[in-house]
Symmetry: D2
Subunit: 131 residues, 4 copies
Amino acid sequence: MYRYQEIIRLHHTDAAGVVFFSNLFVIAHNAYESFLESCLSLNKILSEGSYILPIVHAEADYSLPLTLSDNITVELSLGRIGNASFELEYVIKNDNMQIAAQVKTVHAVQLKGCSEKKPFPEPLKNALEKL
Amino acid sequence: MYRYQEIIRLHHTDAAGVVFFSNLFVIAHNAYESFLESCLSLNKILSEGSYILPIVHAEADYSLPLTLSDNITVELSLGRIGNASFELEYVIKNDNMQIAAQVKTVHAVQLKGCSEKKPFPEPLKNALEKL
Amino acid sequence: MYRYQEIIRLHHTDAAGVVFFSNLFVIAHNAYESFLESCLSLNKILSEGSYILPIVHAEADYSLPLTLSDNITVELSLGRIGNASFELEYVIKNDNMQIAAQVKTVHAVQLKGCSEKKPFPEPLKNALEKL
Amino acid sequence: MYRYQEIIRLHHTDAAGVVFFSNLFVIAHNAYESFLESCLSLNKILSEGSYILPIVHAEADYSLPLTLSDNITVELSLGRIGNASFELEYVIKNDNMQIAAQVKTVHAVQLKGCSEKKPFPEPLKNALEKL
């Protein structure tokens, strides 16, 4: 499990006074990027690598609203891992470590410029399995 | 069914060259707001009304990437409607009217300042059932 | 002068109940993209063309807050045009056509992959001078 | 001077491969919120306090592009401070501590629900003068 923290900023909120729902997907993705950086360079994979990891599914369940200045924790763990895809699960907790939302993203593993699915690059598979 | 159109702008895209996944939730919500405005004032519900409609679940399946200047169409329809919640379904089509993504949001119906679920306000129920 | 319209959506607003200041730069840029599309393909310039038009300066003066569902008008006009740069001016008006903000962006004209400034490509210059 | 750090994430970038210009205003505001939190609760001022601090002007000069995974530093300092307004200046540096952008925001000091300008609340003035 990988732990990531972020503070809710004004730009995350909307006129209803709480975090706009889509911003929890943004924050979950920040946690994923932070995790990748901790093992290998996402930048490298994206800019030089031959692989892309497009998101093919995303979902979230919202249980508690988050508000300005909340110091949230994202607990990222690996869900199912297939031949050419993997699932990431994110538990998002508020200041009091209560679950505010649960997010899931499903990523395909593809060769760049080609919609064919591909077996995992080893460094990525190793990194994910450490989660 | 309610039809909404929007053009993909630079700020929707990311360094991978396509729309960042969370922005399709933003665009789906734009379609929902546009629909509500077409029957009753969302602004009124939010600012004066006694009801709030928090999103308790959201999900998306992505099938085709969207890119800068794509003129997309969102087809919004009503999914299940319960006693104190409703589901909205959004089919997002690209320039060529191919399905690029399918989004679902689930909304609870609550009295403001109170987490108790509540029966639907009539004008909202009527509006949804026209979808 | 080029006229562009957009409706303020929930995601533009923040917990203070009004549009978050940086989103008027987003909306101004939407107006600029819409203008470019009306004469030539921005997509083409970005993806195939040899030119890029990076923003080197941006500024905004805010006079009235904008709120959810405001139907705003952006009036885009050309400011100074130099040898290798141009200024765009945006007057942003609210529902009642009162000025809510004035935005300016300054764009450099550069060859891709090269920080040298370059004379204007003709189709762009012609398009701007029609503003 | 207050120092703030943030890492460039995918959602900050656009299809041109670099940070979308308006996102540096978002990041500058994050630095400002982080600073306020370090001395007094921004949340409190916004939600309970009688004061609001609307941005009346914002500007940025961009000198170097920022890209995915850049670990940037924002150096926040106080510019001019008036009777009922103050200026904040942000120097944004890239991974190599080169200046990538300089941002300025001007904030009015107002009583909530009233567009009249007001003398500074003491805790805010004290906090700003420590910058």
